[in-house]
């Protein structure tokens, strides 16, 4: 297994990434970019060696919540409620309660309760409902469909599951908060590694978050974490672009490639640090 110590984030590196994320937000008017940037900076601020940063982010979160609340059609913004939930949770854990985000989450919870059974059984919806319930909002997590319940009980079938099914599976696993058996944990980490080699970072990080949160430490999971850590660049962003492929006209590489990858990286580091067993260092 790789030695990870040199690859973990130092306080200076966290500050550089935070600064990079803020610069992206400042050059874009998109609420989605603002939410992604803020969430990732909350993850960084919640880590050790970043005292006092959460206070500033609380004010920013409130301002973002107000912008969303006053948008003409807030439910048409394409925002992932998970980002807002995680921002709220991270700030609340740091003793700050962003009222506007709280008001948004009240709305999300109420909206979920009106959805039909089929929608409520979806992984993302169950994950959102489960997180909202934990934070004290009124929501109800429905049961997964029979097909998904069967897939969840059959790790041997995960190897050939589609990317969409795996993403759904990860949401269900985190929603249920049940410990992952050793085999299941290793299979998810191995699939995450294989998907990282395809540079499907989004899916891989979903699987790895489930592994670090619910599973057991493994060499495969540590390798996957190293893979992500090695994507770090000098200015604090994460990701490598293919210089030999022409990017499509008008595409902003920072918003389309580096921002999602950076958000996934710092979210993963945060989850890993939160759930790491003090008795089992990563390079054991």
């Amino acid at each position: 297994m790789l030695k990870l110590e040199p690859l973990l984030l130092s306080a200076d590196e966290a500050a550089a990434t935070s600064s990079y994320l803020r610069s992206l937000q400042e050059r874009s008017s998109s609420l989605l970019v603002a939410a992604q940037s803020l969430f990732a900076r909350c993850c960084l601020a919640a880590g050790p060696g970043s005292p006092g940063m959460l206070g500033e982010l609380g004010a920013e979160a409130d301002a973002l919540g107000q912008r969303i609340l006053h948008a003409p059609q807030p439910d048409q913004l394409g925002l992932d409620p998970v980002l807002l939930i995680e921002i709220y949770r991270l700030l609340k854990d740091g003793g700050i309660e962003p009222a506007a985000i709280g008001a948004l989450l009240e709305r999300v919870g109420a909206e979920l309760l009106t959805q039909d059974e089929r929608i409520q059984a979806m992984g993302r919806v169950r994950y959102i409902a489960s997180q909202l319930t934990c934070l004290g909002f009124s929501a109800r997590a429905a049961k997964p469909t029979k097909e998904m319940a069967l897939l969840m009980r059959s790790p041997e079938n995960w190897f050939s599951a589609t990317a969409a099914d795996l993403a759904e599976l990860a949401d269900h696993l985190v929603a249920d908060r049940r410990r992952l058996e050793r085999d299941a944990s290793q299979i998810l980490a191995l699939i995450a590694l294989a998907e990282l080699r395809n540079y499907r970072v989004d899916l891989s990080c979903s699987l790895l978050r489930a592994v670090f949160q619910l599973g057991e430490p493994s060499a495969e999971a540590a390798d996957a974490l190293s893979f992500i850590a090695l994507q770090r660049r000098r200015d604090g962003r994460y990701g490598f672009s293919n210089q030999f492929v022409e990017s499509s006209a008008g595409a902003d590489e920072h918003l389309e490639l580096f921002l999602p990858l950076t958000v996934n990286a710092v979210w993963l580091f945060h989850v890993e640090a939160t759930y790491r067993s003090p008795l089992q260092p990563l390079n054991a």
């Binding site: 041997e156 050939s160 080699r197 090695l230 660049r233 000098r234």
Partner: protein, 295 residues
């Protein structure tokens, strides 16, 4: 001794052409233009003591520093290992730029610390395997101590690279052959890279790779349930038509000319591996043969 005028004219022409080359690469980096820049840089570094090429040297050093600082060199290093020596040379030359800072090289240093760059396992494997085979032919090809190497570390580090081409499978097969010949001398076997590659092949529906990797894992590395079951299920779902071979590997077009030309061999190889894998992964064939023999 040639005239100063002639030499100055040659330097001047090379300088003007090199500036165009550097600008062209900067505007649109391609593997061909990187090779061109690398070719010039190689000669520049060898002739650095000769007076007259200072302007050209400085132009390349300054350009290399810009590319290092902007991250282009890192991107190239991550993209293909074959550009690494040119990228390393340019990083070296960047140190001579007037505005070079130690922070410029931090990411490449990190990639080396993480063992992602700096050591290519293919020459090591090729050298060891060649020596092992030749030794059995009574030929001593070991002209120099190869030292003892941890095969698991050499191979498993490939897992950190986002790529997928025939060299991935080649590394696994070289290693498997080495284990077969000299397994008793090797203390640790790679496990994660061959299995991750098998999972990648299953998930990308690469029916050429799956049998090769499944058999190699079972034969030489490790293949525990449930991956064994998943691989077997995949193989049985992707059997070739009677009389047909398995298809060629997906994406072989990006590999070297040597590999691309071997398309038919790769199909036969995989079909053979399919037969081997079906013999060993499931127990029905072996049991059936055994009962016939007993009967």
């Amino acid at each position: 001794m040639q005239s100063t005028e002639l030499i100055s004219q040659l330097f001047s022409t090379c300088f003007a052409e090199s500036l165009r080359l550097l600008e062209g690469f900067e505007a649109a980096p391609t593997s061909a233009s990187l090779f061109d820049v690398g070719a010039v840089a190689e000669m520049v570094v060898l002739g650095e003591a000769i007076p007259g090429s200072e302007l050209l040297q400085q132009a390349i050093c300054d350009a290399a520093a810009r590319w290092l600082r902007s991250g282009i060199l890192e991107d190239l290093c991550m993209l293909r290992m074959e550009v690494l020596s040119h990228a390393a040379l340019l990083a070296y030359l960047a140190r001579r730029a007037t505005d070079y800072s130690a922070a410029d090289i931090a990411v490449i240093k990190r990639l080396c610390t993480g063992r992602l760059l700096g050591r290519s396992e293919m020459p090591v494997l090729t050298q060891q395997l060649t020596a092992a085979y030749f030794a059995r032919c009574g030929i001593d090809s070991d002209f120099g101590d190869m030292g003892s190497r941890d095969l698991a570390r050499i191979i498993d580090k490939r897992i950190l690279r986002a790529r997928s081409d025939e060299y991935d499978v080649m590394a696994v097969l070289l290693c498997a052959q080495l284990l077969q010949l000299e397994g008793h001398l090797i203390c640790s076997r790679p496990t994660r890279y061959p299995r991750a590659l098998l999972v990648q092949a299953i998930r990308t529906d690469n029916s050429n790779w799956v049998p090769v990797l499944a058999y190699a894992c079972a034969h030489s590395f490790s293949l525990d349930e449930p991956l064994r079951g998943a691989a077997l299920k995949y193989l049985l779902r992707n059997l070739p038509q009677p009389g047909e071979l398995l298809p060629p590997p997906a994406g072989a077009g990006i590999d070297s000319e040597y590999i691309v030309q071997a398309g038919r061999g790769l199909r036969i190889r995989s079909t053979l591996a399919l037969a081997f894998a079906l013999c060993t992964l499931g127990d029905t064939y072996v049991e059936a043969r055994a009962s016939v023999a007993i009967g």
